[in-house]
């Protein structure tokens, strides 16, 4: 199996992710009131893909073996081969 990404790099990314998530979950580190959310409520701040991106997500899940965890080949039919 060809490793495209060095494991050591991956391991560093994993540790970074854990730190970020832990920081996000620390109680008291965040207190943003509703009236302070003018930026957070912006359409472009949503923590999700735009609706119009769904077609790209679908074709990526067809064309990449690592797809399927974001819609597409896991079910719901083929649509293209």
């Amino acid at each position: 199996m060809t490793r495209v990404f060095p494991f050591s790099t991956f391991s560093r990314l994993l540790r970074g992710l854990v730190l970020v998530v832990a920081a996000a979950a620390l109680p008291g580190c965040v207190s943003v009131a509703a009236y302070q959310k003018v930026y957070l409520n912006d359409e472009d701040m949503k923590l999700a893909n735009k609706r119009v991106e769904v077609y790209e997500t679908n074709f990526e899940s067809y064309r990449e073996g690592a797809g399927g965890a974001n819609g597409g080949k896991v079910g719901g039919g083929c649509g293209c081969n």
Binding site: D44, R51, N70
Partner: protein
């Protein structure tokens, strides 16, 4: 309340294999197979207003490693996909959603099931419909949903059911959403012309089940920064190979009659994890990032990184260039044309399962004036509807295995009276 979900973080961490890391398949943007919103945000709409979205895309790809011909044929494909999404409030706490659409596609590679060297493209149409119901509970912070849907095309039928639960913290700075979905599929067995057992083009059907479980935890970090971590576990069993994909083995010449049909294991477990970030850098510029690590028991590991930088030319007009990089290792069962050994139990020459890297670059624009783009009278008692927003997008995709693709997408949003 803030601490309430802390105990779930180690649980999410345990779901990760020791040698792997993150992806985030947020399911709320699925066009099909998605009947129940998985976040409180997705289920929240303006009170009393029905929303209608008309989406469409045109997709075209080309390449030289078609799986139907054992990894050496054309991958030419076009796909046109109109879709309608309707979101209707039933009362102040519940909503119904409907998602109807079709894929009209032409595939040169599929046409070569019957004759390796034919040239015209095979055409088919897939129809899909999904319906969902969501309800906001009395605490106003919890939303539950149920959904079901189906799709059908010439050689494939699928039925799915879904359930979701999402809860926001009291201050709205944290949210946890969980969703489960089960697909029950039936694929018609179609082998290549020279490999048919009884001479018949179709040889019955074979089932496939997929079980999806997704979890997303989002958190506001500052007035300009928020992140989410997510996972979407997938377990599949049944027919996971495609019977009309040929595989040519070492020692064969590649002539008709010397191939086998693709063979893959009867189950597959995928465990991706992802991290998503949105940062309002300045009044003109935002940064959106997404990183995903993917792992499965086919032996594929992948990393995906996406960056998008929306630029607000005016408060209502946004340009957003984006870039995506993806790299993956090959499945244990992949080998190119004539590279498989006859002794192997599982084999495929489908380059979607090969090791490669891919780049995608593109540009989108969204126009969404606060009072809408325009208004027009509807046939329903002359009521006035609003053309609310327009989202257009183009992307160019290039894979290191000689595959290129172009896709145009559009989303027209309307508010109905």
């Amino acid at each position: 309340m803030k601490n309430k979900y802390l105990f779930l973080l180690p649980g999410l961490g345990l779901l990760l294999p020791l040698n792997s890391l993150a992806q985030g398949g947020n399911t709320q943007n699925r066009v099909d197979g998605y009947g129940a919103p998985t976040t409180t945000e997705a289920a929240r709409g303006a009170a009393g207003e029905a929303e209608l979205n008309i989406l469409m895309s045109y997709y075209q790809q080309d390449g030289t490693h078609g799986a139907v011909e054992g990894g050496r044929g054309t991958e030419h494909l076009t796909d046109l996909t109109p879709t309608i999404i309707l979101n209707v409030p039933l009362d102040t706490v519940s909503r119904l959603s409907a998602n109807l659409g079709m894929d009209v596609y032409a595939s040169a590679s599929t046409d070569r099931i019957d004759q390796v060297l034919s040239s015209p493209s095979s055409q088919d149409t897939r129809f899909h419909a999904d319906f969902g119901y969501t309800r906001q509970l009395a605490d106003r912070r919890t939303i539950v949903g149920l959904g079901a849907g189906f799709s059908t095309e010439y050689d494939y039928r699928s039925f799915n059911v879904a359930a979701s639960w999402a809860k926001a913290s009291r201050d709205g700075n944290r949210e946890l959403s969980l969703a489960g979905q089960v697909f029950f599929d039936q694929a018609t067995i179609i082998r290549p012309a020279e490999l048919r057992v009884n001479g018949s083009r179709e040889d019955g059907t074979s089932p496939r089940q997929s079980y999806n479980l997704s979890a997303v935890l989002s958190q506001v970090l500052t007035q300009r920064l928020q992140i989410s971590v997510s996972t979407e576990l997938v377990y599949q069993k049944g027919l996971l190979s495609t019977p009309f994909h040929r595989v040519y083995f070492q020692g064969s010449t590649g002539a008709l009659g010397e191939a086998k049909v693709e063979a893959l294991p009867g189950s597959r477990f995928k465990y991706p994890v992802g991290l998503r970030l949105s940062y309002y850098a300045s009044d003109l510029l935002l940064v959106r990032g997404f990183y995903r690590f993917y792992n499965d028991d086919f032996g594929i590991q992948a990393h995906t990184l996406e960056v998008e930088t929306p630029v607000k030319l005016t408060p209502f007009f946004v340009l957003y260039p984006f870039y995506r990089y993806h790299t993956q290792t090959a499945a244990n069962y992949f080998a190119p044309y004539l590279q498989h050994r006859p002794s192997e139990q599982y084999y495929t020459s489908d380059y979607d399962l090969s090791g490669f890297s891919a780049n995608k670059v593109g540009l989108g624009l969204r126009y969404s004036p606060v009072y809408g783009i325009g208004r027009f009278k509807t046939p329903f008692k002359g009521r006035i509807a609003q053309f609310k927003a327009l989202d257009l997008r183009y992307a160019y995709y290039r894979r290191s295995t000689d595959l290129t693709a172009n896709i145009f997408s559009a989303d027209f949003s309307f508010i109905l009276p």
